[in-house]
């Protein structure tokens, strides 16, 4: 277990935290007079009880894996990248814009994916450069860049990429550029392979390459890393490039692999939020690329199960969200506590530097 960088202890902690979360959720439901047992049955039956439900859970997990990777690779370097949301918008825009070109099937999708990755990367590089050369704190800059991306995407959706027939959405992604659906009748596309593949690549990178060694060194002890020849600048740039790529791809899989419309709606309603949810997923997954995969599937399953929980157990939607919130919070807490300590330590480090 240790060899793949996941100890048994974190796993046990997570299982325990999950149980506590379920317990708290049950108490909440009980307190408002709902029966928790059928509610939970419905929740998990929908998402993990059938092939169809599981496929939808996986479909929900696809963008989350990618945005969680953005946060995780940053956190491993001691950076708190809140910018996956904005990078993802840029990726989605690039993925749609790629349909202005005509390319053979397959190649077109690859072209669009690369374009989206590049767009996310470029968008991530701006806060990275600000951080590396001017010391601008990445939490502040990435939050600001989320809003810039938000309104920029707004503009593109309404004016540039707009569907001439249906003004509430962008043009649909060209058929040649769509990711194939893996199971007929579900939303599960080839995007899951992209996401899982990238998670494995990130794992390899972090634990088996020099660049990853240096990223982790910089995150764990910036002083010792600098003494060991790790350039803080290079680390910041590299981490944002990787993170931007992952988040850009999240935007791509959400447009190129999401039937029925394969488009972005005005107001970005169908893609908004994945970047932020990715932060939670990353923490549930212990900011480990491989831990993120089950974490995202679990998270995606919770979302997919919400509908049936409402219908079958007659739990109102707000209550479903509250219960899900309790579960996610409990699962994220152990990592959150750890990251908080890292954050405080880094703040002290910067204080000393100036």
């Amino acid at each position: 277990m240790r060899r793949i960088g996941v100890g048994l202890r974190p796993l046990l902690e997570s299982v325990l935290a999950g149980l506590i979360g379920l317990g708290v959720g049950a108490i909440i439901m009980r307190a408002w007079g709902y029966n928790p047992w059928p509610a939970y049955m419905a929740l998990f039956k929908e998402s993990f009880g059938s092939g169809y439900g599981l496929a939808n859970a996986l479909a929900n997990a696809t963008p989350l894996i990618l945005t969680a990777l953005t946060f995780a690779v940053g956190a491993r370097a001691g950076l708190f990248i809140i910018g996956a949301e904005g990078m993802m918008y840029m990726g989605a825009m690039a993925a749609v814009a790629a349909s202005f070109f005509r390319l053979p099937s397959g190649w077109h999708a690859l072209f669009a994916l690369l374009g989206a990755a590049l767009a996310g990367m470029v968008w991530g590089l701006i806060p990275a450069v600000l951080k590396a050369y001017r010391g601008v704190h990445e939490v502040i800059s990435t939050i600001m860049f989320n809003w810039l991306a938000h309104f920029f995407a707004f503009y593109l959706v309404a004016n540039v990429l707009v569907d001439p027939i249906r003004a509430e959405k962008t043009i649909s992604v060209a058929k040649t550029s769509r990711l194939p659906i893996l199971f007929r009748g579900t939303d599960l596309s080839f995007g899951i392979a992209v996401a899982v593949g990238l998670a494995f690549l990130f794992y390899l990178l972090l634990w088996h390459t020099v660049a990853g060694y240096e990223i982790r060194a910089a995150g764990a002890n910036p002083h010792a890393a600098r003494y060991g020849g790790v350039s803080p600048r290079r680390t910041v740039l590299l981490v944002f490039i990787l993170g931007g790529m992952a988040a850009g791809l999240a935007g791509a899989v959400e447009t190129m692999g999401r039937p029925p419309t394969y488009a972005v709606y005005s107001g970005l309603t169908n893609i908004a939020g994945f970047g932020f949810d990715g932060i939670g997923v990353a923490m549930i997954g212990r900011i480990h690329p491989l831990g993120i995969i089950p974490a995202a599937i679990f998270y995606g399953g919770l979302q997919a199960g919400a509908r049936l929980m409402q219908m079958e157990a007659k739990v109102p939607f707000e209550m479903v969200r509250a219960v899900q919130g309790a579960i996610v919070l409990a699962l994220a807490l152990p990592e959150l506590a750890r990251l908080f300590r890292v954050f405080v330590r880094r703040a002290r480090f910067q204080e000393k530097k100036t």
């Binding site: 660049a211 002890n221 003494y227």
Partner: protein
């Protein structure tokens, strides 16, 4: 002495990670007595005093006052009873003045009233400090006085001092002792924690020796000898030679001298000026040369620019001006990795800051700084097998005690962490080794290992720059020793030429002989 002030009964402390720091320790503190708490690192001295001062709850056992059992929930409870502690690391706000620092937590008092009381206290105790200068501008000894005054303002009846002399000059130490005796004669109890036998014998009335969390022995100071105490402290542990035992109280024995000042110097520092974090000049024009086959020592009270000097030499701090030459080449301002490739290794003063990445495994730490070498990477991929083989070799060669090379480095003891750093740095095959406070905080065995290592390096013809606040260590190991005071070198000599008076003067910043 029937009347006691505080009594601890069967105190046991087990930390959450399972470390047993104290096992059934009994301790009695009498008013008007200086009680020495003696023990090696990890003996439980600090844990015990943390319990006495309310910082930690004991796992079992209890504290008694003459009025009956008592429980401390926080240091406040202990203070209310008149128990105050001066920690090894001061709890002062650097940007505040002495008065402001004392005012913190006292509340109620107006500044003018406080100042008046503080002045009176300074008169009474003889502890004088500048009141209106930010604490960060004060010398370490003065800061310690501020810390003591802060606690005395609360009318303590038991003052606990954790290794108070480790940062002081001999003169400051003497002043502190005078103050402590004075305090005792007025009926206050003092607990004096130390691992220096000479000090314990000099200042205390009674000595309790801790070893591995247990009371190993207790004696009146007037009735005990240094060798008895040393035996109690170290015990009859296997592997610790009798010599190591003697070292702990007779100072460190000198061995044969190196071949000083022969050939071309390996490391030359010329007129170096370095700024500190706060922007002031910490090093003001320092020049010296270290030759192959010698240990060049830099002594002096800490905070006189040694840290900045070492950081500048090792590429961690850019010098303001001056030149550093390594094996004949100008290397001023080069980064650490470039320096290492040119033959310099560094055993850093702060091993948790610059030496190790505690969450990394032993194997990962064993290549820190060399991760880009072809020996450990191919096409950007780490050669895990080569890294592990390298680590295993170092662990064996240096006798590093670890659960395995995949164990996280934070699970190693301080001594083994230091061995790991030394092993890694020496695996770089350096011609010049800069060792800063290399034995600080280590137990006798590990300290001896590091010292032997430095001697070995000298024998192999390498140049060693040793910077240490441990005077005995510098004098014992060095072929030549320079004294640093306020950023300059105030004197350089062969240790044999030095008398205690000379050393005292040099440490205090008075130039000797050279004029």
């Amino acid at each position: 002495m029937a009347e006691f002030f505080l009594r601890a009964e069967r105190l046991t402390k087990i930390y959450p990670d399972g470390t047993v720091a104290l096992r059934e320790v009994d301790l009695t503190v009498h008013p008007g007595e200086i009680l020495g708490l003696l023990g090696e690192n990890g003996a439980g001295k600090t844990t015990l005093t943390k319990i006495l001062s309310g910082l930690l709850p004991p796992t079992s056992g209890r504290l008694l006052t003459p009025k009956g059992p008592i429980r401390f929930h926080s240091p406040k409870d202990a203070l209310a009873l008149g128990i105050g502690m001066v920690h090894q690391h001061f709890a002062l706000v650097d940007t505040f003045t002495a008065v402001e620092n004392v005012a913190l937590g006292l509340g109620k008092l107006s500044f003018s009233e406080l100042r008046a009381r503080l002045k009176k206290l300074m008169e009474d105790t003889g502890l004088h400090v500048p009141l209106d200068v930010p604490v960060e501008k004060l010398a370490v000894g003065e800061r310690q006085r501020v810390e003591i005054l802060k606690i005395l303002m609360r009318e303590v009846r038991l003052l606990i001092l954790d290794e108070p002399t480790s940062v002081l000059t001999p003169v400051e130490t003497a002043e502190l002792f005078k103050f402590l005796r004075n305090l005792r004669d007025r009926g206050t109890a003092v607990i004096f924690i130390t691992h220096k036998l000479k000090e314990a014998l000099a200042i205390t009335d009674r000595i309790v020796v801790l070893r591995r969390g247990r009371v190993a022995g207790e004696a009146k100071t007037s009735e005990v000898s240094a060798s008895e105490l040393a035996r109690l402290m170290v015990g009859a542990e296997v592997g610790l030679s009798r010599r190591a035992l003697e070292l702990s109280w007779e100072g460190i024995e000198r061995e044969e001298e190196g071949t000083a000042c022969q050939g071309e110097p390996s490391l030359v520092v010329e007129n170096l000026r370095v700024r500190s974090d706060t922007g002031g000049l910490a090093v003001r024009g320092v020049s010296f040369a270290v030759y192959p086959g010698e240990i060049f020592g830099i002594a002096g009270v800490e905070g006189n620019g040694q840290t900045e000097l070492v950081e500048a030499i090792c590429g961690l701090r850019r010098p303001e001006s001056g030149e550093i030459r390594l094996l004949g080449r100008n290397v001023t301002g080069l980064p650490p990795t470039a320096l290492y490739r040119r033959g310099l290794a560094h055993i850093p003063e702060d091993r948790w800051k610059y030496g190790l990445i505690l969450s990394f495994t032993v194997a990962e730490n064993s290549i820190l700084g060399r991760q880009r070498e072809n020996a450990f990477q191919r096409a950007g991929f780490l050669r895990a097998w080569a890294m592990r083989a390298h680590a295993a070799k170092l662990v064996e060669k240096f006798g590093i005690q670890t659960a395995g090379i995949s164990a996280p480095t934070k699970s190693l003891s301080g001594g083994n962490q230091q061995k790991l750093i030394a092993a890694r740095e020496l695996s770089k095959e350096p011609q010049v080794i800069v060792a800063a406070q290399p034995t600080r905080g280590l137990d006798i065995g590990a300290a001896q290992f590091i010292r032997d290592l430095l001697r070995q390096l000298r024998k192999e013809g390498r140049a060693v720059l040793l910077v240490s606040a441990d005077l005995d260590e510098v004098l014992a190991l060095s072929d030549r020793v320079a004294f640093m005071y306020e950023g300059t070198i105030v004197g350089e000599a062969r240790p044999a030429e030095l008398t205690p008076e000379k050393i005292g003067l040099l440490m205090g910043g008075v130039k000797v002989g050279s004029e």
